[in-house]
């Protein structure tokens, strides 16, 4: 296979596998009525998955040195505090991110 052919094949396989996983719930529950346990999961899963995604973003946090956890965890606290105080999504994200950049680049 030529180099281009191989690259196209890899892209196609990656694209199809990703599409398949994203489409799976829709392929399984194609019928008119969605089973009640699935509707229930649809209601409770967003909060559960967002929680898991926060852990996913923080998965590389380690506790060996301060630099391995402090910037991320302090920035999380800053983001949460800003959000509970002002309730502005833009402000909370900007504040947390700038805090993390300063801590990463200049403090730790």
């Amino acid at each position: 296979m030529s180099r281009e052919g191989w690259i196209v094949s890899v892209i196609a396989v990656c694209a199809l596998c990703t599409l398949f996983e994203r489409a799976l719930p829709f392929l399984i529950f194609r019928g008119e009525r969605v089973p009640e346990p699935v509707r229930y999961l649809g209601r409770v899963l967003p909060m559960a998955i967002m929680t898991t995604l926060v852990f996913y973003c923080l998965r590389t946090v380690g506790f060996g040195t301060a630099a391995a956890f402090a910037p991320q965890l302090i920035s999380c606290a800053v983001t949460a505090a800003l959000h509970l105080w002002k309730g502005s999504t833009a402000l909370s994200i900007a504040g947390g991110t700038i805090c993390c950049m300063i801590l990463t680049q200049f403090v730790f």
Binding site: C14, F26, V38, T51, C57
Partner: protein, 236 residues
């Protein structure tokens, strides 16, 4: 429609910021692997999954079979199989756009759909706000990764830490969901417990699939306890 578009522009802004370092880095990596900006654009358009696209760069060098590529692709993004569940019913009414929303469903789009609060009383406009959300982040991703390939090497601005924007977005959405949960925060609790346990057992690279599976089982097991109390989680 215009209002929905303006809403989506604002709503997707945190994603744009978080894509800046990742998209640029991806384009640069592709370029240094001998693949020009066209390949970068093709990957971003067709795969549209950040971590898998990074992994695919190592596949391009060869030395693996297509079957192995498929297995690794399926495993790496296995969390995506849960992302459609909350939308199975709603998107049925979206006609052909359902297919686009399914295709364009990475972590970032899922988080936007979970936090979409656009509501002017018109279901059609609500649909468009979700489509615009997905479309905008797709465009951001393609444009930024191509920019990385074209001019990435010229950028010397230190972006270390800017990737926290995505963490912050997820955290803010979670806080909003907890505030709107109307009592039951059990889904967050069980997901947090399961994440911590699975991180300890499986480590950072393999924790997310077992963790989500345990969470689903746990949510189903305690369905009687929280099913009644649980109103709309998030805004969906």
């Amino acid at each position: 429609m215009k209002k929905a578009f303006r809403y989506s522009l604002r709503h997707s802004l945190p994603i744009l910021i978080s894509f800046i370092p990742v998209g640029l880095a991806y384009g640069i990596l592709m370029q240094t692997s001998g693949l020009n900006w066209i390949w970068t654009g093709v990957c971003s358009l067709f795969i549209f999954a950040g971590s898998l696209q990074f992994l695919a760069v190592s596949f391009f060098a060869g030395g693996v079979s297509l079957a192995a590529v498929a297995v690794m692709a399926l495993l790496l993004n296995s969390r995506h199989i849960f992302y459609g569940l909350p939308f199975v019913e709603r998107w049925k009414r979206y006609g052909p756009w359902k297919l686009f929303l399914i295709y364009a469903l990475p972590d970032e789009a899922f988080s936007l759909h979970c936090s979409n609060s656009f509501d002017d009383g018109n279901e059609e406009h609500r649909k468009w706000s979700q489509i615009f959300d997905a479309l905008l982040i797709l465009v951001y991703w393609i444009v930024l990764s191509i920019l990385g390939a074209l001019i990435g090497s010229l950028i010397s601005f230190d972006t270390a830490g800017i990737d926290f924007a995505l963490t912050a977005l997820f955290l803010v959405i979670l806080i909003e969901q907890l505030k709107a949960s109307g009592g039951s925060r059990f889904p967050a609790l069980i997901a947090a417990l399961s994440s911590v346990v699975c991180l300890l057992f499986f480590g950072p690279d393999g924790f997310i699939l077992p963790s989500l599976m345990i969470t689903v089982v746990g949510l189903l097991a305690f369905r009687g306890r929280i099913g009644g109390k649980e109103k709309e989680a998030g805004h969906e």
